[in-house]
């Protein structure tokens, strides 16, 4: 259960780790849009080069990225196959109801790379940004929404707490599973019904302890006079530094590059 790397923080030191989290989120969105705006091989290659640069700059072992790709590899294969067989135009190869066209092949390649780039970009964000920084940045970015009476601070706080307790709950699940196994609980064999029944001895204690934790946390927060976001000041002030401006410049360059590639270089479909 602990092998899921998608969405995990990888603590180490790199330029990307030190960038302003708000900037990282905005650039992630920009790059995702860009990935889907890459209409020919040149612009796709440019986005690809950016992904590789980001992965290398993050100082996180490439193995971690491969692990997070492993989770979605099935989705990549299925969508690529679907695209492969649904292309328009002259078939270059036909078998039963399947026909492969050049357009289909291009589509498949583009879709495949787009999903992979998407995952790599978002993994780079979560690997290099601690959950706290992430929600903090989200809260600030969504601040304007308070005009519409959306409780941005409360939402951010809920996200922070949820993220904070994921590893704790995983650990707890491991412990409870071990304790029930010691009493002969059998979770690996039997029919589907038997196996879902075997989950009860794990889920009940897990829920009980989650409620207990939630209650204790609420009391602890109240003891420190927590009353929501109004009037709270921050310990960590975010300020854009020189490296952040350099990052903005590079992002703009890449965007310009992709747009230019799309306009001036030959379209391949």
């Amino acid at each position: 259960m602990r092998d899921i790397t998608l969405g995990q923080y990888f603590p180490c030191d790199s330029v990307l780790h030190r960038l302003d989290p708000r900037l990282k989120i905005v650039s992630l969105i920009a790059f995702i849009v860009l990935t889907f705006c890459a209409f020919n091989f040149y612009s796709l290659a440019l986005v690809g080069a950016t992904v590789i640069a980001v992965v290398l700059l993050s100082n996180v072992p490439v193995k971690m990225y491969l692990k997070s790709l492993k989770v979605i590899i099935i989705i990549v294969i299925i969508t690529s196959l679907l695209n492969l067989f649904y292309g328009q135009g002259e078939p270059i190869f036909q078998w039963w109801i399947f026909k492969v066209t050049w357009a289909g092949i291009y589509n498949a390649i583009f879709v495949c790379f787009r999903i992979i780039f998407l995952i790599l970009f978002s993994s780079a964000l979560t690997f290099t940004t601690s959950p706290n920084d992430l929600t903090d940045a989200l809260e600030r970015l969504m601040k304007p929404l308070t005009v519409f009476h959306i409780k941005v601070h409360e939402i951010a706080m809920m996200m922070t707490i949820a993220l904070r307790f994921v590893p704790t709950l995983l650990e707890e699940t491991d412990k409870i599973m071990a304790a029930q196994k010691a009493r002969g609980a059998d979770m690996e064999s039997g029919s589907l019904v038997a196996r879902s029944k075997a989950l009860i001895p794990i889920l009940v204690p897990l829920f009980v302890s989650s409620f207990r934790r939630a209650y204790e946390l609420a009391v602890a927060m109240e003891c420190r006079c927590y009353q929501g976001g109004d009037g709270r000041t921050r310990m960590k002030q975010l300020k854009l530094m020189k490296r952040d401006y350099i990052c903005i410049a590079i992002c703009l360059l890449v965007i310009a590059g992709v747009v230019l590639c799309n306009i001036f270089l030959p379209q391949i479909r």
Binding site: K175, A178, A179, K181, R183, G184, P201
Partner: protein, 287 residues
């Protein structure tokens, strides 16, 4: 006759990752049937990891565990049988309760063993009695019990499986002083009455000294000493070096010896100390 035979046991957490950590390192020992064994060691010395290997919850990275001469991992499919033979009560076991009544929760283990309902009922009552749970509590929800009662219920749930070896990981942690003593003496009587092997992990030197025949001392993942309680607690200096100490009464007697009073070393209980000291005073003619 040796019941449990452990050779060169090693356990490494997160093997092959940067967080690799060896929690138990080349541990070997033999335990005979009917012994009461204590395990002491500083926090993080690998006690819980070791006992989880003994009942097959963790698979050793290397080394073998033989129960009655048979390697417990010889048939991995049948590891559940080992868990019934070697019962393990976890540190803070009260969080594993889940049924709607205490009786049903205690019956969880025996039910998994596939016993018939009459036998299960028998075992529930007997084990509840062993840990001192009153009958009327058995029909209550386990979540309505006090902390100490929950602890007893959880221990009863393991005793109900009637294991050949009963392992308790810090059963008394967080109980009041009287509760600790009662629980400990109940465990001791259970051991006496059934003749089962019991392994007790504890941070209380007093508890270990008063009930255990032999004591294992863990230090930084290794088994540092394994000897009778008396011999272990006569080595106060070495124990202090690895962050442990001797029972208070033992150190009082040690200090008396140092001050020139001719008493014997390695006294483990207050009763024994009182006996020794009055005998000495009588001999001196001061009593």
């Amino acid at each position: 006759m040796s019941l449990l035979n452990v050779r060169d046991l090693v356990y490494t957490y997160s093997l092959g990752s940067p967080l690799e950590h060896t929690a138990v390192d080349s541990v070997s020992f033999t335990i005979k049937k009917g012994e009461f064994i204590g395990i002491i060691g500083h926090t993080g010395s690998g006690k819980s990891t070791l006992v989880q290997m003994l009942n097959g919850l963790l698979k050793p990275t290397s080394g073998t565990i033989e129960l009655d001469g048979v390697n417990i991992w010889a048939k991995p499919k049948e590891i559940r049988r080992i868990r019934f033979q070697v019962g393990l009560v976890f540190q803070y076991p009260e969080y594993q309760l889940f049924e709607d009544t205490v009786a049903k929760d205690i019956a969880f283990g025996p039910t998994n063993m596939g016993l018939d309902s009459e036998e299960i009922e028998n075992r529930v009552y007997r084990s509840a009695e062993f840990v001192g749970l009153k009958r009327e509590l058995l029909e209550k929800s386990p979540f309505d019990l006090s902390g100490g009662e929950k602890r007893r219920a959880a221990i009863a749930g393991v005793i109900a499986m009637d294991p050949d070896i009963l392992i308790l990981d810090e059963p008394c942690a967080g109980l009041d002083p009287v509760g600790r003593d009662i629980l400990l003496s109940q465990i001791y009587h259970y051991h006496r009455e059934r003749g089962n092997t019991v392994i007790l992990v504890s941070h209380s030197m007093e508890d270990v000294a008063s009930v255990c025949d032999r004591v294992m001392v863990m230090n930084r993942a290794r088994l540092e000493m394994f000897d009778t309680s008396q011999n272990i607690f006569s080595r106060g200096e070495e124990l202090r070096e690895i962050g442990l100490r001797v029972p208070q009464i033992t150190s009082i007697v040690d200090n008396l010896i140092e001050a020139g009073v001719p008493l014997s070393k390695g006294v483990l209980t207050v009763d024994k100390a009182v006996l020794d000291i009055t005998e000495y005073l009588k001999k001196e003619g001061r009593l």
